[in-house]
Symmetry: C3
Subunit: 465 residues, 3 copies
Amino acid sequence: MLDKNRLFPAESASRAVAAKLYETVRDLPIISPHGHTDPQWFADNQPFPNPTALFIQPDHYIFRMLYSQGISLESLGIPQVDGKQSADPREVWRLFARNYFLFRGTPTRLWIDFAFAEQFGLKERLSAENADEYYDAIDKKLRTPEFLPRALYERFNLEVIATTDAAVDSLEHHRKIKASGWKGRVLPTFRPDAVVDAEYLGFQDNLKKLGEVSGEDISSWKGYLSALRKRRAFFKENGATATDHGHLTAMTADLSLNEATALYERIYTGKTNPGDVELFQAQMLTEMAGMSVEDGLTMQLHPGAIRNHNPHVYEKFGRDKGADIPSPTEYVRSLRPLLSKYGNEPGFTFILFTLDESTFSRELAPLAGHYPCLRLGPPWWFHDSPEGMTRFREQATETAGFYNTVGFNDDTRAFLSIPARHDVARRIDCAFLGKLVAEHRLDESEAFELAQDLTVNLVRKAYKL
Amino acid sequence: MLDKNRLFPAESASRAVAAKLYETVRDLPIISPHGHTDPQWFADNQPFPNPTALFIQPDHYIFRMLYSQGISLESLGIPQVDGKQSADPREVWRLFARNYFLFRGTPTRLWIDFAFAEQFGLKERLSAENADEYYDAIDKKLRTPEFLPRALYERFNLEVIATTDAAVDSLEHHRKIKASGWKGRVLPTFRPDAVVDAEYLGFQDNLKKLGEVSGEDISSWKGYLSALRKRRAFFKENGATATDHGHLTAMTADLSLNEATALYERIYTGKTNPGDVELFQAQMLTEMAGMSVEDGLTMQLHPGAIRNHNPHVYEKFGRDKGADIPSPTEYVRSLRPLLSKYGNEPGFTFILFTLDESTFSRELAPLAGHYPCLRLGPPWWFHDSPEGMTRFREQATETAGFYNTVGFNDDTRAFLSIPARHDVARRIDCAFLGKLVAEHRLDESEAFELAQDLTVNLVRKAYKL
Amino acid sequence: MLDKNRLFPAESASRAVAAKLYETVRDLPIISPHGHTDPQWFADNQPFPNPTALFIQPDHYIFRMLYSQGISLESLGIPQVDGKQSADPREVWRLFARNYFLFRGTPTRLWIDFAFAEQFGLKERLSAENADEYYDAIDKKLRTPEFLPRALYERFNLEVIATTDAAVDSLEHHRKIKASGWKGRVLPTFRPDAVVDAEYLGFQDNLKKLGEVSGEDISSWKGYLSALRKRRAFFKENGATATDHGHLTAMTADLSLNEATALYERIYTGKTNPGDVELFQAQMLTEMAGMSVEDGLTMQLHPGAIRNHNPHVYEKFGRDKGADIPSPTEYVRSLRPLLSKYGNEPGFTFILFTLDESTFSRELAPLAGHYPCLRLGPPWWFHDSPEGMTRFREQATETAGFYNTVGFNDDTRAFLSIPARHDVARRIDCAFLGKLVAEHRLDESEAFELAQDLTVNLVRKAYKL
């Protein structure tokens, strides 16, 4: 099912180089600096419940495709806002198996086939016929010690994995992991969206909680900033090396102290003017950049997703149900206030992501090829795919070079897919380098160096790991 | 002139698979669910007048390219608004032949070479030298029974062909075809632009006519909607399975009954406020979607063309003279009102097209990979080409999969080019699949299934044919 | 270091055709219709000072990449606004050599390797180890007669080179060259940005100077236009065949005489309303097009760069320091006023460039494939690269054809890179044609013709050289 040359160019000269390069990176440790696994898994080290709960229900790539073809989320057992969830796991699995052909040509198919073959030894393509056999085989393995979270971490050859955590999080699971003496490195990432976006669900409560956990008076701009500074320090003490910011746009602002103070007052009291919510987020990106200059945490920006586009799905099933849709994203004017203030600061690392591929050659590579602080994150979400990665390299490299990029992010809550995702990225990078060598645009010796850099060196440097 | 491996990848492993796949789809019937052929051809079954009238004068791809290189539309015999048209057909043909080199690298060249070789047995490239020989050979064949419209329909192995017809059309030609007993399936498509776009030429007269043919009082919002409902039913009785909507943008709206009633009053009386014309079109897309939910007609949206960009050409020669130019098109916010209302309706099929390729990976594939009603139309107009089709598959498949697409549309009024256009589409799909197989991203057995699906199964399902 | 098949496709059938095509264009003369070399070089024919001053300090591609990786512009000896510049040339060279790996995968690397190998006979990749050896070898050659500017012009097989010159320029160097009897053709290009953009540094002084050199009263709209007409005539007398316009957007306008007169009054007196500066530039594009219709100068438009994005760099180092960043650029609505007025004029040639690649297939190719005046300039600046050129051909050819393009521009102030840049363009065009032939989309005999056209014929015609 998994050909050893998969994802390499069909053309033989390029393929030969790609395969040689891949041999040298295949077994390197996995460094996962950005993702959404649950730290409690590693803290408690309990078995995963069943194949459906592991593979299907947490993976929006899977259920969004099934939903697009008329399969209801109820029938897939996706948990509902009111707590209902009735589907039988085995029935859901059969439904998935019958429709597995829908994933032809998608990265989901690559990831899942890899997990089936490499982790469960299942080598025949999943189908209606073998659905039960698959279910039973996986279910059985999940009850073995080899499939407990910590064992999988080790088996996957993970060197470090970062989670994503709310600014007010107690980091109890991270602390429990550390206290346990287990040698796995599971690091938190500081994600303050819920206390920065005034339209976030429960924003006022989140602010209150921020005040409580930090011991600061968050009714004033100064106290609010102090609270965030303290939380960042707390995250850093617990191993964090980075922050992450999910915004609708890349807009930044650089307000005067008086303006910012007045704006926060309106946000805090909920008496906002039109545009205030977006302006506050814009100002906060610049504030966060300033704090990164101070404390050295690497800053990540993920803009451009319109969240919860489908109100029917949102009302019944809540957030993160495959109904987030990208939109055109502007960077050059939007980032100027932040970059004018901090763009030339030594030691500041600011990693940009995009869902709008038209910006790679037009905006992102030119920006990253100039500003010392900027680095380009890998292709994200819908573009974390063979074609997406290839376009990224083709469109960004000539202007930004390889050395303004930061290696791969798996960005996933689907733990079992992590080795597969990194394997795809390594193969596509080797394929790209192989083609450059075959076209005499790069020496083979340079390609070997680059393969190492793209797999482990650049990510370690950018995320200070 | 036509190599049997044309359009397949040069690389031998991919090519071998592509060629094998193509063998299995080459002779499948042609299903043409969207195009602009004239139903009168099939109703009356009269011979086409001459080579120039058949190949050059109805084909905006051809005369726009010649015009761009300084060849006047007058000298090509393009009919003028005032009825003038003086060029001698043979002289026009010679002018075309002398400039045939201009089409190198364009799809027009592929289509025309195919028609020359496959339908007229002309195997030497058209040039100044053989222009007369070509003209005479084609002219002679056009007078034979084998080149009458119905004979060509059969010879082309057409299974069904849809035309595009105004909402007020009598469908007399379609009825005549049916009454004739001829077994060809020539179906109308409901296209209401002329009674929905208040800036359309003769809009007020079109509304009046709509009232007459439907027997409804179109002075009220309610009567106007009833008239449209009746016309849709009339089209459906006469074989229509789809509607088509050509709009400047993809904007949709979901107004309250009071708002919509008042808006229609302003539109009907011509006393519009700024933005009303666009808002009315936006509201009408949502109304049309609602009627599709009721009557089951598949809905198609073709947004993004700025019509009649060149006033000089428009004044002298009128519409559709190669001076329509695409513009950036937004889908995600624009379609939200319609999708929020009807996006999750079972049985509703809504096919999106674009002239803005940057939306494939950013907006269209993510939308189609979530909403049950959405499907992606094939690359349209300027992008109906080998590179355009390849980009579409590369940019849409990883997120939308193959099964949220709907096969090929020829979208043409150039009847002779239909087999060529479908042949190009089949070759490029096989080329794409061949590359996936050669790169071990798809099994060969799956590629054979997909080749059938992309050629006949998906189009039959999406258009209910 | 330079493989003879570099940049050709790895696939052997395509490569074989590409290599044969390249043989026929490799030694054709270089025609450079657009660039930024200094005419004084050819007028005075003095040696270039040293390797660093020749290769590094004038080349923003080089120092922007080094800066993006944290290397200060001071340490590279980039001249500062206050006149300071202290870095030792040899130390700068060593710094460059140590960091030469950063350019892997970029066109800069291709250009520089070519210059090292072909012009200086240096065949080992530049590195920290051989930095001094390189420096000494280049430095020594620069003192020989073979490396004086005129000798290099001849050695590079230049047929003609155009410079870019302010509207008020005396063209003294061009006149000196002509008077010298030397047979090299160094032609000026009329670039009026500094007297058209009211936000240009020293705009009021520039206007005053324009009045002086033309002998016109530029306090009135009429006098201002007369002054520009006279300057164009002066440029034309001194060999110019083209004008060039660098604007933030592609916006054009077609104001009435009264509106334009009033607008100029506001611009001239500095009492502008919001939007006036942009509107004036928009109107001036249409005026310049009208003058091109009169005097036959080919018009070039380069829109879309946000200049001096980094205020820190701008304040200390001034313009053109690698901190210009592209932004989304709209053409279809923007150019309509100009094209409505002059788009169908016989003999008018208007060449469009872009930094926004999403416009190639969406806007530029459809426009150029219709309007007789329009031609597409080659991929520009960040897109003057193997992948950029390939995308241009893939995205523009199917709609605009090859014959609405104008060959290659090197657009450089890095004189030594000119042969390398033209060599890359020739190789990529041959690679593109080779692939079309191998995929049976073009006959080999046509590809040989096209290779000549793309290399010399189209540029001669478009620029009237």
